[in-house]
């Protein structure tokens, strides 16, 4: 009985120490909600765009998210965080969208919005330009690289897009564009996201396919 208790306590000690000290976990922050990104993003204004949601593990899964942090005044950077299953699954449909924004007054907003929403409509960064009787947002020359970082491609938000986004933000609802251009199914996201979501080799290998391929290769 004493031996079993000692073995159990040793296992518990091993798991605790692994959790606290394991080199794999030391450098990764853990977030429960997008709001927890404020622990990592210290400078403002900044916006965190979800690039990837990943999981690891056979029996017990660990969930990770990759964000691209965009600042107004410095180059972007990419971070990987550990997260909860619920947040990972819930936010996977908001791929390529901004899940965390902090403005110059340090106000934080975590409603999923199209990338670049934080800087759109702010006269510090650009202005509205009239083209074919529609007002489009254009960034100043200094910030000309921002649309590339946002993954906009040829897209420029118009006034209607901006007002609709404001409306959604006030109502606390996510906004993925007038024609759902952004998000996991969005046309712009799937085309211009820097690291396009694709299924890994691990996902593509299916048990049934292995047998099919085996018979195809050997008996056809």
């Amino acid at each position: 009985m004493n031996k079993l208790l000692f073995y159990f306590l040793s296992t518990l000690l091993f798991l605790t120490l692994s959790k606290l000290l394991a080199p794999d976990n030391i450098s990764l922050e853990y977030i429960k909600t997008p709001n927890d990104l404020k622990k990592i993003i210290k400078l403002a204004p900044a916006s965190a765009i979800l690039e990837k949601t990943m999981k690891k593990g056979y029996l017990i899964k660990t969930y990770y998210q990759k964000y691209r942090i965009l600042y107004a005044y410095r180059p972007p950077r990419e971070i990987i965080v550990r997260t909860k299953r619920r947040l990972a699954e819930k936010s996977s449909k908001y791929l390529g969208m901004s899940l965390f924004r902090i403005d110059e007054d340090k106000n934080i907003n975590t409603i999923p919005m199209p990338p670049g929403y934080l800087m759109t409509g702010n006269k510090k960064y650009g202005r509205w330009v009239l083209q074919n009787q529609t007002y489009y947002w254009k960034f100043y020359q200094t910030y000309r690289r921002l649309p590339k970082y946002f993954g906009w491609g040829a897209f420029s938000p118009d006034r209607e897009f901006y007002l609709k986004a404001k409306e959604h933000e006030k109502a606390g609802k996510p906004f993925s564009g007038l024609n759902k251009e952004f998000g996991a199914e969005g046309s712009i996201t799937s085309k211009f996201l820097p690291h396009k979501q694709s299924s890994s080799l691990y996902n593509r290998i299916k048990f049934g396919n292995l047998f099919k391929n085996y018979f195809k290769t050997n008996y056809n």
């Binding site: 394991a22 080199p23 890994s200």
Partner: protein
């Protein structure tokens, strides 16, 4: 023909060089290990004392094992290479002799060379020394390979591996049914065989633990610690199930005769040690050969 002769001559030069190193080792052995002065001051009679021969030859074997990893490539001149090998040999010899001295102090702190080998001719004691010498040689060889020619990294890893091996040696009393010190003083072979296999199993696990890619020292040493810790958890598990699956049993009344009946004690010691060695090998497969990192799937 000239090239063949040249290569042959270089090999002869290296053979002479190795002999010189071994000659140096003989005297360095005396400086660091003064207790063994008789082993070198007079011609060593191999037939007079078997434990002494085992003790002495195992140290030579250990040194040769340790030296066997050193590679020579003809990138530099022959003189440069010989100087490099000489310095390396000095570091290896000193660290090896200090290591075995330390291990004897940790594991066999109650015994000394003079009493056990020269007076009592205790073969059990010398078998334990033999196992420690071989283990230390294999571990130092791994540490040397992992230290990338850096003396600081080598010293750090060397101290680390000595701590782990010392700990493993000390934990033998919790694994074995033998009363370690009492059994050695009674020249019990069982305890020697049990310890021999036990320490070889531990050495195998430690060699595997150190033999992983190292990028950053802190994370490398932490990884070694966790690998060894998880091995410690799996070994008892396998010991239990190997005994259970193969129905390996010992009668309780036979267990009481371990220190009385020499045949039974050898029988038990070999079985106990081999079960540990088998468990250590399976554990190493579980802990080191199953790679669970790097498989990400995208949601």
């Amino acid at each position: 023909m000239e090239e063949v002769l040249d290569r042959f001559l270089i090999r002869i030069i290296f053979a002479i060089f190795v002999c010189l190193i071994l000659f140096l080792y003989r005297y360095l052995h005396f400086v660091i290990y003064p207790k063994g002065v008789k082993q070198i001051s007079t011609p060593f009679n191999l037939m007079s004392n078997l434990p002494n021969s085992l003790h002495y030859l195992s140290r030579i074997l250990g040194m040769v094992i340790l030296f066997s990893f050193v590679e020579f490539n003809r990138f530099f001149t022959l003189e440069m290479s010989l100087i490099h090998l000489f310095l390396l040999a000095i570091v290896l010899m000193i660290s090896y002799l200090i290591s075995i001295h330390l291990m004897e102090m940790i594991v066999l702190y109650k015994f000394n060379y003079k009493d056990e080998i020269l007076k009592n001719q205790n073969l059990s004691y010398s078998l334990i020394i033999f196992s420690l010498n071989i283990s230390v040689a294999f571990l130092l060889k791994t540490v040397m390979l992992k230290s990338n020619d850096s003396l600081i990294i080598f010293i750090t890893l060397w101290l680390y591996v000595m701590t782990l091996l010392g700990l493993a040696g000390k934990l033998f009393i919790y694994y074995s049914k033998f009363q370690f010190n009492r059994a050695i003083s009674q020249k019990n072979f069982g305890v020697a065989f049990s310890f021999l296999f036990y320490i070889l199993g531990n050495t195998y696990i430690l060699v595997k633990a150190f033999d992983q890619p190292q990028i950053e020292k802190y994370s490398y040493m932490l990884r070694i610690f966790f690998k060894c810790f998880s091995s410690c958890l799996f070994i008892p598990f396998f010991i239990f199930f190997i005994k259970f699956i193969f129905s390996l049993r010992i009668k309780k009344n036979e267990l009481n005769q371990l220190l009385i009946d020499p045949n039974k004690s050898v029988n038990f010691g070999v079985a106990e040690g081999l079960i540990f060695l088998i468990s250590a090998y399976i554990t190493s497969w579980i802990v080191y050969n199953i790679n669970l990192s790097g498989l990400f799937s995208i949601l």
